[in-house]
Amino acid sequence: MGAIHVANLGKAYKQYPTRWSRLIEWVLPFAGPRHQLKWVLRDINFRVDPGEAVGIIGINGAGKSTLLKLITGTAQATTGGVAITGRVAAMLELGMGFHPDFSGRQNAFMAGQLIGLTVEEIAALMPEIEAFADIGEYIDQPVRVYSSGMQMRLAFSVASAKRPDVLIVDEALSVGDAYFQHKSFERIREFRKQGTTLLIVSHDKSAIQSICDRAILLDAGRLAKEGAPEEIMDFYNAMIAERENQTVRQEKQEDGKVQTISGTGKATVTDVALLNEQGVRVEVVDVGALVTLQVTVAVNAPMARMVLGYMIKDRLGQPMYGTNTHLKELPLHDVRPGEKITYGFSFPMNLGPGSYSVATAITSTETHLVNNYEWRDLALVFTVMNMNREHFEGCAWLDPSIEIQRP
């Protein structure tokens, strides 16, 4: 079983003022150092227990890739260390070391040897690699005639041919067609079931939320936050939207969930409610029932244009549906401080049974990245239950009418 233990990890690059400085430092080791340390990672402490899946998120330059390099051992830590138990497979960049003139099969052997498999092992795994890559007779063609997608598929198949104890995945997986992405994620899930420990870096919200038990947010080389994927993702989104004079705060709700609120606060959502057909507040909704999502906004500062948006997310934070009054072409103009505006969004609850949350955003355009007046995650939590319909699977109510022809 694989575990990762990162203790007090730090990485600094040496920076020399001129090209000569390094030479002088090497030639005259007693004259003292002439470089400055540029820290890209500092005081990183976390552990991934056997069988756990942890996601690492952070903006570009936060140190994610450096952290993975230190964990996989390609780069050397300046302080602290990493202890890993079990067989490690790292997918930092797929297709490394492929030679264009050689066939896919020959390259598969080479890539396999590079990750420490023996020729016999690869030969034994070859039928499975071929089947998973699913590139047909191309396997015996030179790699230079492959499409980039085919290269990725072969590379992933080789890299994941043998189940590792610890799997480390960089953003590599966001390449390839949708079908293969799906397939590769399925394989990772399968590994997880069999006990593989997973460490994944991704910008893909749904990837992190659907597969990870925990998430770690890196910011400017430090571990900024660690917690449930949904909470961290919300914080991360708020952080991206952060502009001057904005604050991000997280409030713990009565049910233990953490609400993330960010924005300039020019307007604020004071109430979110789900009403049934009779106009009564409900927390439990039947599948297919007509409901109205009622959002009340208090205006604190004048705004030339105000847009309200909402997003319904499932238990894992994956978006089910979202829209806003910009897309619906109903923005408000010239709102004044002190105004209290009530929105009603009516729709049939065509979601499958489960727990859902509503996030709201007050902006000036269709995205909260331009003017984020207020962004509120977990503004409302409700449950959908199947009370009156036959049993069905999935997160959407797509009731078919059925026609059967039996000649």
Partner: protein
């Protein structure tokens, strides 16, 4: 010099090393129709140029010998072995830069890379030298038992080349000037070693200076064996052997100390 961990790593990756050597060898002729034939044709052409052209057309004669082939053999003895030395050192100095991507992305024993370079150079040399040996036998100029002395001399030369190659390879990552400089240096070195010309054409005063050239002792040994069919002066090889061992030790030390920092510089 080499730690146990390093040896273990190399052993575990022997498949990768052998595979890489094979692949590099194949890749040169992979898309050609004649394929492996070229691996023989190229060196064969080179030997034909040195032997037939120099002995038959230019009628070059080595001072103090009558044989038509003497100068050709003299030339080959120096050039072929110099080729091995030049390949190991110049590929060695670039080996880490060439594989920067691999080093940055995949965790594997880095020391495999210079090993692959040496094995590849050795393979190329084996082919060309086998052809040359064939020529020696065919032309009736095979030196006899003294030929066996080639192997210890080769060993000394390879140790020297590996040591120099690793030192240059590591330094070149941090100071790219090293690579540029050595390219020029190697050319001067070649012409300052009696390979194309016999030492006798040099003024006496230069002879003592040549003692400072480690390759002089090695090339002279080859020439003694192949041209004169005599055993080489072993004690003349002692300094270069020592230099080679010291360079290897220094190179490994440098490599171990700087391997981590190297990744940051690539």
């Amino acid at each position: 010099m080499i730690s146990i961990g390093m040896l273990k790593g190399v052993l575990a990756y022997r498949g990768f090393i052998i595979g890489s050597v094979k692949r590099e060898f194949q890749s040169k002729y992979h898309n050609s129709i004649l394929g492996a034939v070229w691996t023989v044709l190229n060196p064969l052409a080179m030997i034909v140029v040195y032997t037939v052209i120099f002995s038959q057309i230019m009628r070059a004669k080595l001072p103090g010998t009558d044989s038509t082939f003497a100068y050709s053999i003299y030339l080959c003895a120096g050039i072929l072995t110099w080729g091995l030395f030049a390949e190991i050192t110049s590929r060695g100095q670039n080996v880490f830069l060439e594989h920067a991507n691999l080093i940055k992305k995949i965790s594997f024993p880095r020391i495999c890379l210079p090993i692959i370079v040496v094995l590849n150079a050795g393979l190329n040399f084996a082919i060309i030298f086998a052809l040359f040996t064939g020529f020696l036998i065919a032309s009736g100029t095979f030196p006899g038992w003294a030929f066996l002395a080639i192997f210890p001399v080769l060993a000394v030369q390879i140790i020297f080349a590996i040591g120099l190659g690793i030192v240059l390879g590591v330094l070149n990552v941090f100071f790219r000037d090293v690579g540029q400089f050595f390219g020029i240096f190697l050319q001067f070195w070649f012409w300052l070693t009696p390979i194309v010309y016999p030492i006798s054409i040099l003024p006496e005063t230069f002879h003592s200076l040549l003692a400072w050239n480690p390759m002089f002792a090695i090339v002279t040994a080859y020439q003694t064996i192949l041209v004169n069919g005599q055993w080489p002066q072993w004690q003349a090889l002692i300094p270069v052997t020592l230099i080679g061992i010291v360079l290897c030790l220094f190179g490994m030390q440098l490599f171990r100390k700087r391997a981590g920092e190297m990744v940051d510089e690539l």
